[in-house]
């Protein structure tokens, strides 16, 4: 909510800008303080002042109220960002994208900036220095809910460029909401990847003393320096404590909680590694880092949709969606089912040369369309089950498969065979 028209006028008439020291008289009372940014939830006729004590209060401006500027806002000193280059140490590219991990607050005005550069982020975590030659660059500054296919493509190209130019690893600070999608996209796009590419986020913003950003970044750096593995990983807290971290395969990971530090979990697989005080322990052999050239195959078929089946899903509503898409991923119920009314849509889409891939909204476990008759009808209609692949990963992979193949049949073959550990034949009993 912004200021009311009158208050806006009064403020500009008084020349009162954010950060100015002002004296406000309203309703028989006088307050002196720094004019703060207007909170979205503040009432439109109130100004917010930071008093000498450091407290903010809202003052309602009514008829007869006055505002007087005592001194204009002080000039803002630009943040100093030093480079932390040290030749001879492993070179790590830090590629900033924005998100909570890069958010910080301006203590003077209280506004939250989502635009901390990668360089500033590195400056703010002194522990990172000394162990590596850190080369930070900011690619975007967006919250991850605003990321799209184009961002993945630019990012994949930037990663390939850095790695081919001599970086030993890339660390990508990223917003957590869609970090799993980006991780999956990079997993498919970076062909011949022989180095670690680690996405890292934070559930508590960097301006807080309790932020998980510094410890997650440190753990990501340790995976790059000590892990010796190639691949795309997501590194976040393994539990609520600041002493244990998990590295997840980029295609297997999902944000499973809205706010906990350990929101990210591997689904249908163990985390690739646990990073603790006493070292890194891997749960599987993985592919060793080799340092060869990587190429970015970034083409994506954007006419692809991700749907979740629900009881009562109306074919009349979704018919046009199926018709307009070249790729359709459905997170089906249970083993991967849709209601029988939806089956004809699958058949028609397949006849139109589109690919219909089926994952399960259970997330845990694999699809199996042979067990019940609905499943067999879906198979007959041309649906392609994707096993224990996450629905989001299936969506990203199908975009990539359609754009990097010559035909629907070839795309279907790509969907069926794992490229980047995104699906597996075995579900172990202890996962």
């Amino acid at each position: 909510m912004s200021y009311s028209e009158e208050l806006s006028k009064a403020l500009s008439a008084a020349g009162a800008a954010e950060g100015a020291l002002v004296e406000v008289s309203s309703n028989g009372r006088t307050h002196r303080g720094v004019l703060m940014p207007h909170h979205e939830f503040s009432s439109p006729d109130a100004v917010v002042l930071k008093l000498g004590s450091g407290y903010n209060i809202g003052v309602r401006m009514a008829e007869g109220s006055s505002i007087r500027v005592e001194s204009p806002p002080p000039e803002r000193r630009p943040a100093r960002a030093e480079a932390h280059r040290s030749e001879g140490l492993p070179r790590i590219a830090i590629i900033g994208t924005g998100g909570t991990i890069a958010s910080y607050v301006d203590y003077r005005t209280g506004a939250v900036h989502p635009a901390m550069t990668a360089e500033e982020l590195v400056s703010a975590v002194p522990e990172l220095r000394g162990a590596a030659d850190l080369r930070a660059r900011a690619l975007f500054s967006v919250f991850s809910e605003n990321m799209g296919v184009r961002h993945w493509q630019i990012l994949a190209e930037a990663v390939a460029e850095e790695l081919n130019a001599g970086a030993d690893a890339a660390i990508i600070p990223h917003g957590t909401d869609t970090m799993g999608y980006t991780a999956a996209a990079l997993s498919f796009m970076l062909e011949g990847l022989g180095k670690p590419v680690v996405l890292v986020g934070a559930q508590r913003s960097s301006d807080r003393p309790s932020s998980d950003a510094p410890s997650n970044l440190s753990a990501a750096l340790r995976l790059c320096l000590e892990g010796g593995r190639a691949g795309v990983f997501v590194v976040m807290h393994d539990g609520l404590s600041d002493d244990s971290f998990a590295a997840h395969a980029g295609t297997r990971v999902r944000k499973m909680h809205t706010s906990r530090r350990d929101a990210f979990r591997s689904v249908n697989a163990k985390p690739v590694a646990r990073i603790g005080a006493d070292g890194i322990s891997f749960s599987c052999p993985g592919s060793p880092a080799h340092g060869g050239r990587v190429s970015a195959r970034c083409a994506m078929e954007e006419r692809t949709v991700l749907l979740q089946y629900y009881p009562g899903m109306d074919p009349a509503v979704f018919g046009p969606v199926f018709e307009g898409s070249r790729g359709i991923v459905i997170a089906g119920s249970g083993l991967g089912h849709v209601g029988e009314a939806m089956v004809p849509l699958i058949k028609k889409a397949r006849e139109n040369g589109s690919v219909v891939a089926i994952a399960s909204q259970c997330l845990g476990g694999s699809t199996n369309l042979n067990v019940y008759s609905t499943g067999r009808d879906m198979l007959s209609a041309g649906a392609i089950p994707v096993g224990d692949m996450l629905p989001e990963t299936a969506y990203v992979k199908l975009m990539w498969a359609l754009a990097n193949s010559g035909s629907a049949e070839e795309a279907e073959r790509i969907m069926a065979a794992p490229l980047a550990s995104e699906s597996g034949d075995r579900r172990e009993t202890d996962v």
């Binding site: 917010v48 407290y55 809202g58 960097s206 301006d207 003393p209 404590s241 002493d243």
Partner: protein, 620 residues
């Protein structure tokens, strides 16, 4: 004393609502299980730079272990954003502000106050300014109110061990009203009077917690030429004047030290630590021997010009104690300084040879510290720093109250608090209509409650005032209304409770329902009213009313049993009764009540005794 001191107080009172930013209850628990281990780091400031001192602290690598209770939730571990502010707590704060005549903000903004000692899982305390101005009247003087804030309490420190501190989450997030007065108080006694009055006004809202630890006072004290000292977290009201007096004396002493140092022309001491371990070979001091056996060193510093002020004038000059308190913040047990030696197993010969080793003359001052080398050096650097501050007089400090009425250095006063908006909690508008509603339904003032108790229940003024001051008036009214035993209830909740407190029991730990039950049992004749104090004591120790009664064996005796017991006592003393006649009643009441105290009403016992004596005298 009026031009000698200035004192203001801050009172923190826990509210009896759910937590301020989550729906957890606000009861403390006796045990906890570890839920997570965290580290806090100072966040980068507006310039993108991190505060050096705070970074230094975080480099010490303290780990904070948090224990959860049955009531803990993700908001408390900082794993979920705060919920909207608790409506009951806010309403109570608005009510209290209105009672003081304070000026309530049109829109309340929650702030984050950075605190990186682990006591807040988030690394900040959420706090808001509710109102400014207002006053409280005490003994005809009007004491100004600076501010009324609503904030969250911190986690409870359970223990500190090595590089770890253990906190329990039960206290974290309990709403606190913080009221700060102007530095208007002029005597130590007035400080207590004002604290009492504010406490009584808080309790009049009927929404505050009672009992030990639910109200805490901070004192801000200065004397002319001294400095502002904050004594933080006094829990015992009656000790306030002691702390005030002690602080005035301490500041006067430091001003004397300053004068002496100036007279001598003492100058700032450079910090030049010397490894003096060699001089301590075979030293008998347990402290030194223990440190050396553990691989530590003895480090020494020269303190030119500081002899006789560290401990001098018959113990009245005590700069050494202040230096030792600073030194302890570096993690050592203490230091030895030349004003207190020879002592502690360090003999004169050693002191002399140490002076020789340091190249200083007899009578010149020094200090030593025996500990792991780095720690010993850090400790002496703090001690020398503190000695140098004495040249300027009294340094501004936050100090911790000790149970013996003294205080200890805790940390420098925080600078302008780094506060920034809590962006996760929307601001709370306070409309004029809402405040008009609050003002029109303010709670009864304490003096009005006292008058009502006297009028409606016939309680005497002193008992009424005591119950109101201690927030026990509502319970009193409930008991009286339920049982009609107003006099017994007033005696229990004022006189008995005071006696229990004098003996170190906490009567407020007894639940209201249990007290009501005890009175219902009394009314039902389960025990006599003489037994009530003993039963309440047993209940304060943790027993339920019924259990207390049977544990103490105070069940009422039947008329027949009592008469038989009295007959036995009289028969044993038949000769005495015959010689004294009816005058024997008085002396025999002693043994009778000794046998039946609490199990029979005293008046009835006297009647039965009289009957039995009559029987003997009539020769029956």
């Amino acid at each position: 004393m009026s031009d000698e001191m200035k004192c203001g107080i801050e009172i923190h009172q826990q509210l009896d609502t759910r937590k301020l930013f989550c729906s957890c209850g606000s009861e403390l628990c006796d045990s906890g299980t570890e839920v997570c281990v965290r580290r806090l780091r100072p966040a980068a400031g507006e310039t993108g730079e991190t505060d050096r001192a705070a970074l230094e602290q975080s480099k010490r690598g303290l780990a904070y272990r948090y224990q959860r209770c049955a009531s803990s939730c993700l908001v408390e571990t900082d794993d979920e954003p705060p919920h909207p502010v608790n409506a009951d707590a806010l309403e109570t704060a608005l009510t209290f502000a209105a009672m003081l005549g304070s000026d309530v903000a049109d829109e309340i903004q929650f702030m984050r106050k950075i605190v990186v000692d682990g006591s807040n899982t988030s690394g900040f305390q959420r706090t808001s300014l509710i109102a400014t101005g207002g006053s409280v009247d005490v003994n005809g003087r009007s004491i100004g109110v600076l501010s009324v804030c609503l904030e969250e309490d911190a986690a409870r420190k359970i223990e500190a061990r090595g590089d770890e501190v253990v906190y329990r989450l039960d206290r974290l997030g309990i709403p606190l009203i913080e009221v700060a007065t102007a530095p208007d108080m002029r005597t130590p006694e007035e400080v207590m009077e004002v604290a009492l009055r504010i406490g009584t006004l808080l309790r009049a809202t009927k929404r505050v917690k009672r009992g030990i630890g639910t109200i805490r006072e901070d004192l801000n004290i200065s004397i002319p030429g001294g400095a502002r000292i904050e004594i933080k977290g006094v829990q015992e009201l009656r000790m306030l004047p002691d702390f005030v007096r002690g602080e005035i004396e301490r500041q006067k002493m430091l001003l004397r030290v300053k004068g002496i140092l100036a007279e001598r022309g003492a100058r700032e001491i450079p910090f030049e630590p010397v490894d003096a371990t060699a001089a301590f070979e075979g030293c008998a001091s347990k402290v030194v021997k223990g440190a050396l056996d553990a691989g530590g060193r003895v480090v020494a510093v020269r303190l030119p010009g500081f002899h006789g002020v560290m401990n001098g004038d018959g113990g009245r000059l005590r700069l050494g104690a202040e230096m030792a308190q600073y030194a302890r913040t570096a993690g050592v047990k203490g230091i030895f300084h030349s004003d207190e030696l020879p002592n502690y197993g360090i003999e004169q010969a050693l002191v002399d040879s140490l002076r020789g080793f340091l190249g200083i003359g007899p009578g010149e001052a020094f200090a030593i510290c025996a500990a792991p080398e780095k720690r010993a050096r850090d400790a002496l650097a703090m001690a020398v720093g503190r000695a140098n501050m004495a040249l300027a007089g009294v340094p501004e400090e936050t100090r911790d109250p000790q149970p013996d009425g003294t205080t200890r250095y805790s940390r420098p006063l925080p600078g302008a608090a780094r506060m920034y908006p809590e962006t996760d909690v929307p601001p709370e508008p306070v409309s004029e209509e809402r405040m008009a509603r609050v003002r029109s339904s303010l709670p009864e003032l304490p003096e009005q409650t006292e008058a009502r108790l006297a009028r409606d229940y016939g309680v005497n003024g002193q008992q009424a005032s005591q119950m109101v001051r201690r927030g026990r008036d509502a319970l009193f009214a409930r008991i009286s209304d339920a049982t009609g035993m107003a006099q017994a209830a007033a005696t229990a909740l004022s006189n008995t409770y005071s006696e229990m407190e004098r003996d170190g029991l906490d009567p407020d730990s007894i639940g209201d329902e249990d007290v009501l039950e005890a009175f219902a049992m009394l009314k039902g004749g389960r025990f006599s009213k003489e037994a009530m104090p003993l039963i309440l004591r047993e209940m304060a120790a943790g027993s339920a009313p019924g259990a207390a009664l049977s544990k103490l064996g105070l069940e009422s005796v039947g008329e027949g049993d009592a008469a038989a017991e009295i007959a036995r006592i009289v028969a044993e003393r038949a000769d005495f009764v015959r010689s004294k006649g009816t005058d024997a009643i008085g002396p025999l009441m002693g043994p009778v009540m000794g046998a039946l105290r609490g199990r029979i009403d005293g008046k009835r016992a006297s009647e039965l005794l009289s009957e039995e004596i009559g029987k003997i005298l009539s020769g029956a």
